[in-house]
């Protein structure tokens, strides 16, 4: 086993797939010669050739459209959109084309594109380098939506995404590229090398899409979350001193309802946490699903902790970020209610 941070794990996943499958190609802005602004594709062009790892024009619509055409012609494209905040020029190609091609041709044409894109805040990126737009994509039928929370899952999920035959939008919480950030920017950064899930096999392995993970077993309440917030939730549990179970959703669409609801039915209390804005957010889907399946087991109203419903403000990042204090407060609230 090797020690990897999340960037290295993602790089390793692409490296493994480029070597295993001649159909795999990587494309995106700065991904080739330079190796990507977050270094996720570092060394891949040198190793696999400039026809396999392509630099592209600054044109997200063009990148996604070209990837679709490549997929139709038998390749397995992995497109990088440099920041999730930049994905919107390619949105029509995702919604109207990538997600619909199999359906509208009754399976005669398909395009197994994986779109990787860094998301989330906490890096002083302001409103154009901090967004978490996963809910916008989970509302689109015909694509899978994934967000890992650690290097092991990042590699295993990305390999599953590339090997699968469905289009996948793969969100990478950039704040945890280098370490399991728990929401407190004043503490010294913790590297992935100190975390058990920073141990990642060097070769091929998969983590299945559509399966959530119980990252912390507990009995008092359930926190359902994903991405960076998994680590924030862990800090909140320690802070509140409440034995909560933490579920990492990992694949937002399609959702692993059974794992979520088994936990909430057991604990009877639920907090849903995401970094994205609250209103119309993915948390609403989680809450609706939980109440539908666990209503008679619930001891308290479900709480949601999310980003405020404003754009991500550059100067007030930590007032905006739904940190451990807010999650702990929500936990206490579900414990108090009866």
């Amino acid at each position: 086993m090797a020690r990897m941070n999340m960037v290295q794990a993602l790089n390793s996943a692409m490296d493994v797939m480029l070597a295993r499958d001649p159909r795999v190609v990587i494309l995106g802005e700065d991904v080739g010669y330079f190796g990507g602004v977050f270094r996720a594709t570092e060394g891949l062009q040198r190793k696999h050739g400039e026809h396999r790892v392509l630099d592209t024009p600054i044109s997200e619509g063009g990148i996604i459209a070209a990837a679709i055409g490549m997929g139709v012609n038998g390749l397995k494209p992995v497109a990088e959109i440099q920041f999730a905040d930049y994905i919107y020029p390619g949105f029509d190609q995702v919604v109207s084309e990538l997600a619909r091609l199999r359906y509208r041709t009754a399976g005669e044409f398909t395009s197994p594109v994986t779109i990787r894109t860094p998301c989330g805040g906490g890096i002083r990126g302001g409103q154009t380098h901090s967004q978490s737009p996963e809910a916008i994509f989970t509302h689109v039928c015909g694509i899978k939506v994934v967000m890992p929370s650690n290097p092991y899952d990042a590699k295993g999920l990305l390999i599953s995404a590339i090997e699968g035959e469905d289009p996948v939008v793969f969100f990478e919480p950039k704040r945890i590229y280098n370490g399991p950030f728990d929401g407190d920017p004043h503490k010294p950064a913790v590297p992935w090398s100190a975390h058990p899930l920073g141990e990642v096999p060097e070769g091929h392995f998969t983590v299945p899409l559509g399966r959530a993970a119980v990252v912390r077993p507990g009995t008092a309440a359930t926190i359902i979350t994903y991405g960076t917030m998994v680590h924030v939730a862990e800090a909140a549990v320690r802070q509140a001193g409440i034995d909560a179970e933490i579920i990492d959703v990992r694949t937002m669409a399609p959702l692993d309802v059974d794992t979520l609801c088994a936990s909430v039915c057991k604990t009877g209390r639920c907090v849903v946490v995401h970094e994205a804005t609250l209103f119309g957010g993915y948390g609403a889907e989680l809450v609706a699903t939980v109440q539908e399946h666990c209503f008679w087991n619930l001891e308290a109203p479900i709480q949601r902790v999310a980003g405020w419903d404003t754009p991500y403000p550059h100067a007030f990042e930590w007032e905006y970020f739904p940190g451990p204090a807010r999650v702990a407060a929500a936990l206490k609230k579900v414990m108090e209610a009866s």
Binding site: A66, I68, G69, N73, R102, T105
Partner: protein, 425 residues
């Protein structure tokens, strides 16, 4: 007076009640435009984007360097394909008017743009059309019954009832799926071509877009990617003068030709008489050879005229002179190819009338057969439960659940009542 800024709102030369006026079109004489080597650098042949490549002269004979010298037998096949496309369109339009299909789009007057181009390409080339190139299916020998069944959303519908009429696709025939979102196919075709080059294959892609939808960002994405990677792709831009009610000036055609956009990206732009079967064939062949041998993309502007309405949902007499098509200076592609064959002594009015009759009978027979597989109003149709298939490769749990909900509603008789024809007893 101090000069002030002024908003220019383009206005077509003629609206309903006015005299048609095509004086804005710049035309070259047949045979007048030079034909460069297909290896010519884009920068050396920019004049082709302003001129108009034409082969058929007023005397109906082929002239000049772009004459593709096709055998009469091949020209007869081309005529047959165009005529069949037209008769198919006419029939489907009537059927829509009778309420038997929900929608239709004719290609009347533009048949050469699909048929001649399609015939100049190879079977392994991927065709990525917009919604007005049904002629491509005809060229590649598609059974019209399949197209009709799609329009009927019946039990044999290739789209399984999921798409409006005319949104065809054909996997084994290498004709890509038509999207209702305009221009999206253009950069996809470039991606397909890039993949062919990555794999070291000989096939090229050809795509079609209207002049109206060339205003979409996807046009620019396609041109940029095609230029940057020298992708083996032919980018056809069908300038049929009208985008529903807005004339070509509203897509940016007032001061520059659409073909002139090519050189701006470093891609050859060729403006061709889109109603001249021979010219379209020749220009396509040139661009295909260039693409196949590593020369990259070509933008071809086909100057043509949309004789019919945009679709069955609009009435062109509300926005353009009713008889405008009669004034169109480039004539009709079917009539012109027919006249050429007659001039060559390879065709006659009698043969033409006979062919027309034969093709009409063929379309009628196809329609009868298509209807036997069901109609939209009268059924039978596919099981509505198939709507849950093909969203993803494997049906996910939540869709299994939703499918069972619908099944339960059907079983209870609450929804999905039997089609009208079955309820008459």
């Amino acid at each position: 007076m101090t000069p002030r800024s002024r908003l220019h709102v383009p206005s077509p030369p003629a609206r309903p009640g006015q005299e048609p006026d095509f004086s804005y079109l710049s035309l070259s004489a047949a045979g007048a435009v030079h034909r460069p080597e297909f290896t010519a650098p884009a920068g050396d042949i920019e004049d082709l984007s302003k001129e108009l490549v034409r082969v058929l002269g007023d005397d109906h004979l082929a002239v000049g360097p772009w004459n593709p010298h096709l055998e009469p037998a091949e020209l007869q096949v081309g005529l047959r394909h165009m005529l069949l496309t037209r008769l198919f369109d006419d029939r489907m339009q009537k059927i829509q008017r009778q309420g038997r299909i929900s929608f239709y789009i004719k290609s009347t007057g533009e048949e050469a743009v699909a048929v001649a181009a399609g015939m100049a390409l190879q079977p392994g080339d991927m065709l990525v059309p917009s919604y007005r190139q049904q002629g491509l299916h005809v060229v590649r020998g598609r059974d019209l019954v399949e197209l009709m069944c799609q329009c009927l959303s019946n039990t044999r519908d290739m789209c399984k009832g999921r798409q409006m009429p005319i949104m065809y696709h054909w996997g084994s025939g290498n004709i890509f799926s038509i999207s209702g979102n305009l221009a999206t196919q253009y950069p996809q075709a470039v991606g397909w071509a890039m993949a062919a080059a990555i794999k070291g294959e000989d096939h090229i892609a050809a795509s079609w877009i209207g002049e109206g939808s060339s205003a979409e960002a996807d046009f620019h994405h396609a041109m940029t990617f095609a230029a940057v990677y020298q992708a083996p792709v032919i980018l056809n831009l069908v300038n049929n003068q009208w985008a529903i009610s807005t004339f070509q000036g509203f897509a940016g055609g007032e001061r520059r030709t659409f073909a002139q956009r090519g050189p701006g990206y470093g891609i050859p732009g060729i403006r061709v008489d889109g109603n001249d079967f021979l010219a379209v064939h020749a220009v396509t062949q040139w661009a295909a050879q260039r693409a196949r041998q590593g020369g990259g993309a070509t933008l071809i502007e086909h100057v043509t005229y949309r004789v019919a309405a945009h679709s069955t949902s609009d009435d062109p007499s509300r926005y353009r002179p009713k008889e405008e098509w009669k004034a169109w200076p480039l004539g009709d592609p079917v009539a012109r190819l027919k006249a050429h064959l007659v001039a060559l002594g390879e065709w006659s009015e009698e043969r033409h009338a006979k062919l027309e009759k034969e093709l009409e009978a063929h379309v009628t027979a196809c329609w009868k057969k298509a209807e036997s597989f069901g109609t939209l109003a009268g059924g039978p149709s596919l099981d509505p439960l198939t709507m849950f298939d093909d969203v993803l490769k494997e049906i996910p749990e939540h869709l299994v659940k939703q499918r069972e909900e619908l099944r339960a509603l059907q079983t209870a008789g609450a929804i999905g009542a039997a089609p009208a024809h079955a309820r008459q007893d």
